[in-house]
């Protein structure tokens, strides 16, 4: 097989991992660090995408700039949702959180359906979406490159924030022992609020990216939630850096299979989840 094809597959795979990381990092914060199982994460993502779209059609705002609005907007949305609902299930078992957030997901999805209709929407008239740089027969997509860079920055930033910064450590503390946290002077509820809103914000950034490279429908949420969950779990709960590695592994595998196997494109989901499955099993066997 043509070597440049394989090389191209590797490059595409590496870059594609950026999107996965973007989708997952917020969830990694929510579930891995704060310990809130958020089934509506994909909906934050979807909302972010449609806000970007709306800003574009109504005011012709370029997605790059709409970040400045979408990110805070989702932070706000996250905060509101936390105050009105999540706040009350912190102590509740994981399953209750799942039901609650799943319900929220349905609400958000059908609201979006009501507002934007069921057809996929697309942001037109942005030149950079289809720009690719050719380096020795290999093409590198501008947007993928940027999203890859952004995701690395976000993940690295979040990791540093959580391990080094006081606020970051506060989030972990609150998640690990609420009583202990308040006994060292933390307003547990406020810390959670910030953390949850932050995870929504991160989802929003991913949403902007999706609005640029794809044409979202209101129903994309759940699929992304599940993939994000898988990546976060593969990375290991609470392991922010792991999100990058996990995303890289699955994206690379998808891309290689899609290239090397005839009709491999249809296997991408199978590959994705097969890796998740095998990795989890293998890990569970290894540790005693």
């Amino acid at each position: 097989m043509d070597p440049t094809l394989i090389l191209q597959a590797v490059v595409s795979g590496v870059l594609a991992s950026g999107l996965y990381a973007l989708v997952s990092v917020g969830l990694a914060l929510a579930i891995g660090v704060i310990g809130i199982v958020n089934f509506a994460h994909g909906e934050f993502f979807m909302i972010g995408a449609f806000l970007t779209y709306q800003l574009f059609v109504s005011f012709g705002v370029d997605p790059v700039f709409s970040l400045l609005f979408v990110a805070p907007a989702l932070f706000l949305l996250g905060a509101v949702i936390y105050r009105t609902t999540i706040q009350y299930v912190l102590e509740a078992p994981e399953l209750n959180q799942m039901l609650l957030t799943f319900g929220l997901g349905i609400v958000l999805q059908n609201l979006a359906l009501l507002i934007w209709g069921g057809d996929p929407v697309s942001i037109s008239g942005i030149a950079y979406r289809s720009i690719g740089y050719r380096i020795g027969g290999i093409s590198v997509g501008l947007v993928s490159l940027v999203s890859f860079a952004v995701s690395i920055l976000l993940v690295a930033g979040l990791y540093l924030a959580l391990s080094r910064s006081r606020t970051g450590r506060a989030m972990r503390a609150v998640a690990q022992n609420r009583v202990g946290a308040s006994l060292v002077g933390l307003e547990v509820n406020r810390v959670y609020l910030v953390a949850f809103a932050l995870s929504a914000l991160l989802a929003g950034i991913g949403g902007v990216m999706i609005a640029v490279i794809q044409s979202p429908t209101p129903t994309i949420g759940l699929a992304f939630t599940l993939k994000a969950f898988s990546i976060v779990v593969l990375a290991g709960l609470g392991n922010i850096r792991g999100v990058l590695v996990a995303s890289l592994v699955v994206a690379l595998a998808e891309s290689l299979v899609a290239t090397l196997v005839p009709n491999g494109g249809t296997l991408s989901n199978a590959v994705f989840f097969a890796i998740i499955f095998l990795a989890l099993i293998w890990r569970s066997r290894r540790t005693v």
Binding site: A92, P93, L95, G103, F229, F277
Partner: protein, 355 residues
């Protein structure tokens, strides 16, 4: 009378009543609403299906294993019966028990490899399993499993039409009655399995494993064996459900048979109704199906927004599901009347687990 005997009566009586009610329901509906009973039967049947799914899921959840693989058992069942029917081996109905058996084997296989996984790790592993299985089914030779186009499945019931004695809608009624009774039977079977785990020593083993597997082991419980048993009990009815459903809707396609909705509602319904109980998942299914249809009939667009809100509010105001809430009220009543402390026995059962 020994407490066990008491329990047995306490359980069996309502079940028997429920069974009798189900048996007469079609004719009652018919007598009450005439031809409209046709669609009512379909709706109730859908509800029963949800109940079977939910209760089965709950059985496994009692060991602390949050499965996202029930769509896999369901879809596998659907395909087993479809393929058997196409290969034309034996009578049509044979596919249903076969589907059940296959689902159990599949579940045991999955159970063995996921034994050591806990909580969300287990959940995601089972989800991944479902997705992979769907992909595999798609890739199977078209001549065998129909590929992405799917397979047609013969209906189980083709009531003969006799213009003299009956109206056309009565054909539909008889067909729906047939499926209704199958679903009802399946639910009763599942109830049986569920009650067995609740009333036998399995109840202790399951709860112990759910709360702390290590301590359970030191108490002499065999966690692996118990979990696998739960897997088997939890997949049997679901496999058969998928099979019957396939006959009912005339075809199977990978997207439909292994759909995420199945997975999700298998878990949403018991939480809504009340976890780790027999009544909870069934109530949950009934109420949820009822609410959805009511909203659908009374609201125009966006009725699902209402549906989502119901879920949200339910968990905020009934954290232990319907059953938990009812028991809570009952207990407060008792406490109000006499000063006897609350009966913790009922308390424990609806208690959420820390997964």
């Amino acid at each position: 009378m020994s407490p066990n005997a008491m329990n047995r009566v306490r359980d069996l009586l309502p079940v028997v009543l429920f069974a009798v009610a189900l048996w007469f329901l079609p004719d009652l509906l018919r007598a009450w609403s005439g031809r409209a009973s046709v669609s009512y039967l379909s709706l109730v049947t859908n509800g029963l299906g949800l109940a079977v799914l939910a209760l089965s899921w709950d059985i496994l959840a009692r060991t602390g294993q949050l499965s996202l693989a029930h769509a896999a058992f369901y879809g596998a069942g659907a395909y087993v019966t479809a393929v058997l029917a196409r290969l034309d081996v034996g009578p049509l109905w044979l596919g249903i028990p076969a589907a059940g058996v296959f689902a159990v084997l599949l579940a045991l296989g999955l159970g063995v490899v996921t034994l050591r996984l806990k909580g969300i790790y287990f959940a995601i592993a089972t989800l991944a399993f479902t997705e992979v299985l769907r992909a595999v089914v798609r890739q199977l030779p078209t001549s065998f499993a129909g590929g992405s186009a799917g397979i047609n499945v013969e209906p189980l019931f083709r009531p003969a039409f006799d213009p003299e004695t009956m109206e056309r809608w009565e054909i539909a009624f008889q067909r729906n009655e047939g499926y209704f009774l199958l679903y009802a039977g399946l639910l009763l079977l599942t109830i049986g399995l569920s009650l067995w785990t609740r009333r036998s020593r399995l109840q202790h083993a399951f709860t112990a494993i759910r709360t702390n597997e290590e301590v359970a082991g030191v108490m002499g419980v065999r966690p692996a064996r118990m979990k696998l048993l739960a897997f088997a009990l939890s997949s049997l009815s679901v496999g058969m459900l998928g099979a019957i459903h396939a006959h009912r809707v005339g075809s199977v396609i990978p997207e439909g048979a292994f759909s995420v909705e199945t997975t999700v509602f298998a878990l949403v319904t018991p939480i809504f109704g009340g976890l780790y109980t027999t009544l909870g998942p069934i109530l949950g299914a009934g109420v949820l199906a009822g609410i959805e249809e009511t909203l659908k009939r009374n609201l125009a667009d966006g009725y699902l927004i209402g549906y989502g809100l119901v879920l949200v509010l339910s968990i905020l105001f009934m954290p232990r599901g319907i059953v938990g809430m009812v028991r809570g009220v009952a207990r407060r009543r008792r406490a109000a009347r006499t000063d006897t402390p609350p009966d913790p026995a009922t308390d424990g059962t609806t208690d959420g687990s820390e997964a």
